[in-house]
């Protein structure tokens, strides 16, 4: 597999009252095309900042991010971010219109019935066909995150940047959405960068896990996760992996 996305020597600090606080220190790793990569670390390790740098929402102090050799300079629909916050859907648009929004600005000049069909296709994928005409305020947290996922998919990005999208959900809904995400990823073969602080989630989802440390945020270790799919949380190998990594 060849390098697709590469993060090279990225440093970043936040301006504070007592000088800058170093958030990320010399982060380097690469991502392969079609890979499911998890960024795992405690809160405050800068994993969200790193994701925002890859999305070009934040600027680096040093270092840069390259996609297929080209330096990334601004946000774009090739890298769509899915946030943890339930407020990421536009409250003034229905679920369907939120998804159609992604298609319209995807750059293609599709007519409205075609767009609607595409949006319905993705909403069906995330099992939201019943609530097309609902407004986000009428949805549960899990439904909002599904809709956000559908919107991201509808933009047809090359890379999905997911910032603990299931972090605020109850564990049952969370597992359902993890399974759903794996299915979608296996069908669409998108590259996914998934930020989480939950080891179990990383083990269930990712091909590789980048373990991060805090103060300042840095890469501690990069691990292959070769567990066979479909993965089960009670499987002996899974538990062994879990124990090994959590003892690190």
């Amino acid at each position: 597999m060849k390098k697709y996305l590469s993060i090279e020597n990225v440093c970043m600090s936040y301006e504070g009252n007592k000088g800058g606080k170093k958030v990320l220190e010399d982060i380097s790793f690469s991502v392969f095309k079609g890979e499911f990569l998890a960024l795992l670390g405690p809160s405050g390790c800068g994993k969200t900042s790193l994701l925002k740098i890859i999305a070009s929402f934040l600027k680096t102090e040093r270092g840069a991010v390259y996609k297929e050799g080209k330096r990334l300079t601004g946000p774009g629909p090739d890298r769509i971010m899915v946030f943890q916050e339930f407020t990421q859907l536009f409250p003034w648009k229905t679920v369907l219109d939120n998804v159609i929004f992604a298609i319209r600005t995807g750059g293609n000049n599709k007519d409205s019935s075609e767009k609607k069909e595409i949006a319905q296709y993705y909403l069906e994928k995330v099992e939201l066909s019943d609530v097309l005409d609902y407004y986000p305020a009428q949805l549960s947290g899990g439904m909002k995150q599904r809709a956000a996922l559908a919107r991201a998919l509808a933009a047809d990005p090359e890379i999905l940047l997911m910032d603990e999208p299931f972090g605020s959900l109850d564990s049952q809904t969370r597992r359902k959405l993890q399974d759903l995400l794996i299915n979608i990823w296996q069908e669409d073969q998108k590259t996914i960068l998934f930020v989480t602080h939950d080891l179990e989630e990383a083990l269930i989802l990712a091909d590789r896990i980048i373990l991060m440390d805090k103060n300042p945020g840095r890469v501690k270790r990069i691990m292959e996760n070769n567990l066979k799919r479909p993965r089960h949380r009670r499987n002996v190998e899974f538990v062994q992996h879990y124990e090994t990594i959590s003892s690190l």
Binding site: A55, F57, P75, G76, P77, R79, I80, M81, F83, E85, T87, Q88, F90, P91, W92, F101, A102, T105, G106, G107, Y135, P136, A137, A155
Partner: protein, 257 residues
């Protein structure tokens, strides 16, 4: 709950009307300065049917509507410029600081000299009353948009103008509506005063002028008929039109302030 509120309101209005009528029956005041409710009601209905009051009402409403629409476009345009130009923003904020506290009525003598009397003069006063609260609220609204909306907008490829109209304007609608409410209240007051001052052209001078003219002829039922109509319009717009708009937008979206 809401029905209860309406019933309470009707009850109080009925009680106040009854008090009025008792005062009238007591005969303590001359009927010339203290007309009976019945007479006021009769005058109101007659003036509406004969078209005399209706024409004045239409004049007032059309002028205020034009004023509000023009102000809305102007406010959007100015805050658009301020959003994308630092110099524009600093100029607009200064203009806002100067003009917002200035009551429209204070400008009337000047308007009389510069523009003269008539529709344009009233329109000017209305725009002055509506524009600044609208701009102020839009500026506040833009700066309180949750960052996530603009991030998502940019992520999906929106830039400048499309970001402004597709994300910033709808996201700040609660503030825009609040500004419109304040603007309406101020414009309605300014309108009535301006009409009294500027008088009529071809006997059509609006509700304010109608009241003023009735006073000249010492027609107090006429004066009260005009006042009651002003109250009714005010209540209808604030309690009915604005709450309808809110119900179908910001309340439905769950982003009411």
């Amino acid at each position: 709950m809401k029905n209860n509120k309406i019933i309470q309101r009707i009850f109080w209005i009925f009680l106040l009307a009854l008090l009025w009528q008792i005062l009238f029956w007591s005969g303590r005041f001359s009927t010339l300065v203290f007309p009976s409710l019945l007479e006021i009601g009769r005058t109101l209905i007659q003036a509406l049917i004969s078209g005399e009051l209706r024409q004045q009402l239409m004049f007032s409403l059309s002028i205020i509507l034009q004023g509000i629409l023009l102000s809305l476009f102007l406010a959007l345009f100015l805050s658009l410029i301020a959003q994308f130009s630092r110099i524009g923003a600093s100029l607009l904020d200064t203009l806002l600081a100067i003009s917002h506290p200035l009551p429209g009525i204070a400008l009337m003598p000047l308007v009389l000299i510069w523009i003269g009397i008539g529709k344009e003069a009233i329109l000017f006063i209305i725009i002055h009353s509506v524009l600044w609260p609208l701009v102020l609220n839009l500026r506040t609204g833009f700066s309180s948009i949750p960052a996530i909306y603009t991030l998502v907008g940019k992520n999906y490829g929106l830039k400048n103008l499309s970001l402004f109209f597709q994300i910033m304007v709808p996201a700040s609608l609660p503030y825009l509506l609040a500004g419109l409410k304040i603007g309406w209240a101020r414009a309605w007051r300014a309108l009535i005063s301006a009409e009294m001052l500027f008088g009529a052209i071809n006997s059509i001078g609006g509700l304010g002028w109608y009241i003023f003219q009735k006073r000249v002829f010492f027609d107090l039922p006429g004066v009260f008929a005009g006042i009651i109509l002003i109250i009714i319009i005010g209540v209808l717009v604030e309690d009915f039109i604005f709450s309808k708009i809110e119900k179908h937008t910001v309340i439905k979206w769950g982003i009411k302030l």
